[in-house]
């Protein structure tokens, strides 16, 4: 039922966006896991619906949809709110929690490598299968339990990232170093994500177009765990390579697709992610005007 409602909401959003007169477009790298230094434009709200379909070697396959509300608070600070859910085949559909993330650009100019500081508070259950990051010794067997068991265990976590990102000749190259701490008495867990992407055509064409190369972005992500503070390692955890493609429409709608392939026995064989997002320009100003 939740899947049906979500699909309906996505269809409505896409229809509304397709008929919208507004023409704001973000400069997005369309990574699902990695982050670049490109923040949301100030005052804009990006509404995003994503889903992650994963195959399980042990246990049932799943779909984990999530919603993101990404707001450009300033040109150097983006704040984002997430609602996560998942549906496991032959099991159940559950709401798995929320996350609140903030990204800050400490340097006010562009450099060869641009750092961004990331802090996120997560209040999610062990049933969360969005796999927005892989840390510690995360592996596919963590998801083998039934939802009724996994969803009882709530985790309060702080996730930090050092995002390093560069733009060179139309390419974006981003490296993320992830540190996650459960606020219980768990050790720090670490992970990494690397992304590269670029549009298929660099220069824009003179006339408006939808199906043209300048609107297509291609790239790939590599991500995985790095163990814990007690045992920093690449083994015993999972790793993925995920080619991606995105289509940006001139009216601010974009569609993204990524096919993640598990690189070792601890990984899900396939993580198929897709999403649609819509940029609402001047959202902050419109909200403020309601209170004047």
């Amino acid at each position: 039922m939740i899947r049906l409602r979500l699909s309906l909401a996505i269809a409505l959003l896409a229809a509304a966006a397709a008929t919208s007169a507004s023409t704001a477009r973000a400069q997005d790298t369309h990574y699902f896991v990695a982050y670049s230094h490109h923040l949301e434009e100030p005052g804009n709200l990006e509404v995003e619906f994503y889903s992650n379909y994963g195959t399980q070697k042990a246990g049932n396959d799943f779909i984990a949809p999530w919603v993101e509300l990404e707001y450009g608070a300033t040109a150097w600070w983006t704040t984002e709110f997430y609602l996560d859910s998942q549906s496991t085949f032959h099991d159940s559909t559950v709401f798995t929690g929320f996350r609140w993330e903030n990204r800050f650009r400490p340097l006010m100019r562009e450099h060869w490598i641009n750092p961004v500081l990331y802090v996120e508070y997560e209040n999610t259950t062990d049933a969360d299968k969005t796999l927005k990051e892989v840390v510690g010794f995360d592996n596919q067997f963590d998801f083998a339990e039934r939802n009724s068991v996994l969803n009882k265990s709530y985790g309060h976590e702080i996730e930090t990232k050092l995002i390093l990102s560069s733009d060179y000749k139309g390419w974006n190259i981003s490296e993320n170093f992830i540190g996650e701490k459960n606020l219980g008495h768990e050790p720090w867990e670490f992970g990494y994500a690397v992304g590269v992407s670029r549009p298929l055509r660099m220069a824009a064409t003179p006339s408006p177009c939808k199906f043209c190369r300048e609107n297509i972005v291609v790239g790939a992500e590599l991500y995985g765990g790095l163990g814990t503070a007690k045992s920093l390692t690449l083994s015993g955890t999972s790793h993925y390579l995920a080619p991606l493609v995105a289509w940006e429409l001139p009216n601010g709608v974009s569609f993204s697709l990524s096919s993640g392939i598990g690189l070792n026995d601890n990984s899900h064989r396939l993580l198929l992610r897709w999403g649609v997002s819509y940029e609402i320009p001047g959202f902050g100003r419109k909200v403020r005007s309601l209170f004047r």
Binding site: T23, A24, R25, Q27, D28, T29, S36, H37, H38, L39, E41, P42, N44, G72, A73, T74, A75, W76, W77, T79, W100, N102, F104, R105, M108, R109, E110, N114, V119, Y121, H156, I158, D167, K169, G170, N172, L183, G184, R198, P199, M202, A203, A204, T205, P206, S207, P208, P250, P281, G282, R285
Partner: protein, 137 residues
């Protein structure tokens, strides 16, 4: 433990608000001796010699106009005369800048004063936007 769970989001909120207040406090309308906005004139001197590869290119101008509509018009207005806090791009403070300075400024932005960095656009598209902006003189 409960206190810690409440304190962390509260701390994040406070840090964010404090940082926003610092950002709002800087002067953004100052100009240099040429009458160019200081934020633009801070571009390295070498950028003044950068040649626009699309100068005189009618297609680039149209492409720049299209890109302007997608990325810039929300703040600077469809006619580029400026809206709210965003400056008019037809004003001498902007038009007196060289194409190289403008393309540098588009790449870097003025983050403290709300102008985002457009480094995510390929160089070619930033030059196309500058081609369009210069046609507004």
């Amino acid at each position: 433990m409960t206190n810690l769970r409440l304190l962390i989001p509260a701390f994040l909120l406070l840090v964010s608000l404090a940082a926003a207040a610092v950002g709002a406090a800087r002067d953004k309308d100052a100009t240099d001796s040429r009458g160019v906005l200081l934020a633009i004139a801070q571009a390295p001197v070498k950028t003044r010699d950068w040649k626009n590869p699309y100068e005189g290119d009618a297609d680039a101008l149209l492409a720049g106009k299209k890109l302007y509509g997608q990325h810039c018009a929300e703040c600077h207005g469809a006619n580029a005369r400026g809206l709210r806090n965003a400056v008019s791009l037809r004003s001498p403070q902007v038009q007196n800048a060289t194409p190289g300075e403008l393309v540098w400024f588009l790449r870097n932005g003025n983050l403290f004063h709300g102008m985002p960095s457009w480094s995510g656009l390929p160089d070619q598209r930033r030059w196309q936007i500058v081609t369009y902006l210069k046609s507004l003189r």
